[in-house]
Each structure stands twice: as C-alpha cells, then as structure tokens.
Symmetry: C2
DNA sequence: TATTCTGGTTACCATCAGGTAACTACAAAA
DNA sequence: TTTTGTAGTTACCTGATGGTAACCAGAATA
C-alpha cells in the first residue's frame, strides 16, 4: 500500500507521496480529524473499506508517525486511535484540498442523478 | 487509475481524492510546475514511469481540467503540456506537503546506505 | 450452555494496475 | 533506401491490491 520505491527516494516530496499518496489515507485522516475513535467506529463510518484494508492502513499510519494507537487490556478489546502532532499538522493540507476542489471542480453531478448511491466521508457524517 | 466510486461521492473531498489521490499525479504536477513541457521530456524526467501510464495520467489530468494539452500538427508530432489555472492553484498544496514532510519526517535514511539507488522527482532535476 | 462483543489476522480468490515490446504515421536526414 | 524522431496505442502478461469468509481470545450476558 505504501510505495516502497517512492519511500526510498532521496527526494523528500517523493517520500511524502510514497507515504500518504494513496486513496485511503487522506480519507481516514479526514474522518478521524481531531477526535479519538475506535476501530469499529472507523470501520462503520468509512464506507466501502474492508476491515483488512483498514487495519493495514492504520498500521502504516501509526508506523509513519501520523497516528497514535492506545490499546486497553480489556476483554473484549478496546483500541483507540487519534492523530499525532504530525497527523494533526496534516489536517490543514486536507482543508486546502477541500477549498481547492470546491473552487475549481466542474460539473460535480452531471444530470443530478442517483444521489442516493453517493458516498459521504465528511467528518460530520 | 481514477477511483470511480470516490469520484461519484456526494462529498467534495472524496471526489477530490478520487481525482488526484494516487501516487503519480502529484509527482507529475510537481514536475511540470510552472513550465511548459513535452511528452518525451516528462517521460525521461519522471523516472520509473512507463509511457503507457504517463499517457493515461496526462489524459486524466487534462479531462479533470488540471492540464492543458497543445498539439502542433507537425511531423514528427509535437505536444506541449502545461498546468491550467486549476492545476497551478494546486501547486501551493504540493508545497505545503513538502514543508510538512520536511518538518515531521523521521529518520529518512536509516544507515545512510545506497544513496545511489534513490529516485529524485524534484522539479529542478 | 450458547451467544455476543471487539479488534484484529489468515487463507483464498478475483480483479486490476502497470510493465514490456511491438506498432502507427509521415517527414527529414543519412 | 534505411534510419530517426515524436507521441502515443495496443496486446499480452505478471505481480500487487483488495474483497470475503472464517477464525481467535475470553469475559459478560441471556
């Protein structure tokens, strides 16, 4: 999921893209935002993602220092995720992507059809 | 390459990620920057990308309004690419990703080994 | 006693991304 | 006459991605 060749580049930008440049990580970071959230919540809030992929992404985000994972030794288990300082510092970038897209996106809904089939990953969901 | 489900979301942010949230597009946009560049130049400047994938990405970027394509009716053909207003407006976001990564990236080169195998996508390359 | 609850992991399988090599057109140069 | 150069496209093939379903522990609940 992480691109190993990109991550091995001597270019900082390329390494950054190798780390967070896939489709799920920005979505997950955006969904978490400033809150603390459990695995099961993420699994139900982020649509279309499988537990397997979600677990992979969370593990990589933690390894890359964007995410903090708190596991409570209980049964049934409880695990909480929240953004680290590095992860929080990435949120303004996500905000500027939103602004950029709102400003320049053309014809977001040709025909206004099948609104119900659409997905919503907004943090407010 | 574009994620069709994301692009069909009713969430603007999700659509944005569906459009530019893959590993090649930020790299290509960064390499082009503010200059005008030909297909063959991109093909040789961006390492590890195949002509096939490069052509796909450029076509999608053009369709999504980030890129302008100027084809001269000559033989052999000449085609020039440059960022549109929308594409240029995305460059500051790439800059902030660079700053973010420089600030928070940890241990970019464990052991300082095999520097020569590293890739460089910097615009100055 | 059987079920539920959580946060995963594993095996298996299908789809897809992406690489390579060959091919196109046509003009100019060798 | 053959080669070169540009900007792709196409067929083919392989390796990665990602989905599904089953399974785990062990306490609490029914």
């Amino acid at each position: 999921m992480r691109d190993e060749k990109f991550c091995a580049s001597n270019c900082s930008f390329t390494r950054a893209i190798g780390t967070i440049g896939n489709k799920w990580k920005p979505i997950i970071l955006n969904v978490i935002g400033t809150r603390t959230i459990r695995f099961g919540q993420l699994d139900s809030i982020v649509p279309l993602i499988s537990r397997k992929v979600l677990a992979e992404q969370l593990k990589e985000l933690e390894e890359d220092g964007l995410l903090e994972r708190l596991a409570y030794k209980e049964l049934p288990p409880r695990v909480e995720y929240k953004l680290s300082e590095k992860g929080l510092a990435f949120l303004p970038i996500l905000e500027s992507i939103k602004e950029w897209n709102c400003k320049y996106e053309v014809a977001p809904m040709p025909g206004e059809a099948d609104k119900k089939s659409r997905i919503n990953y907004a943090r407010t969901l």
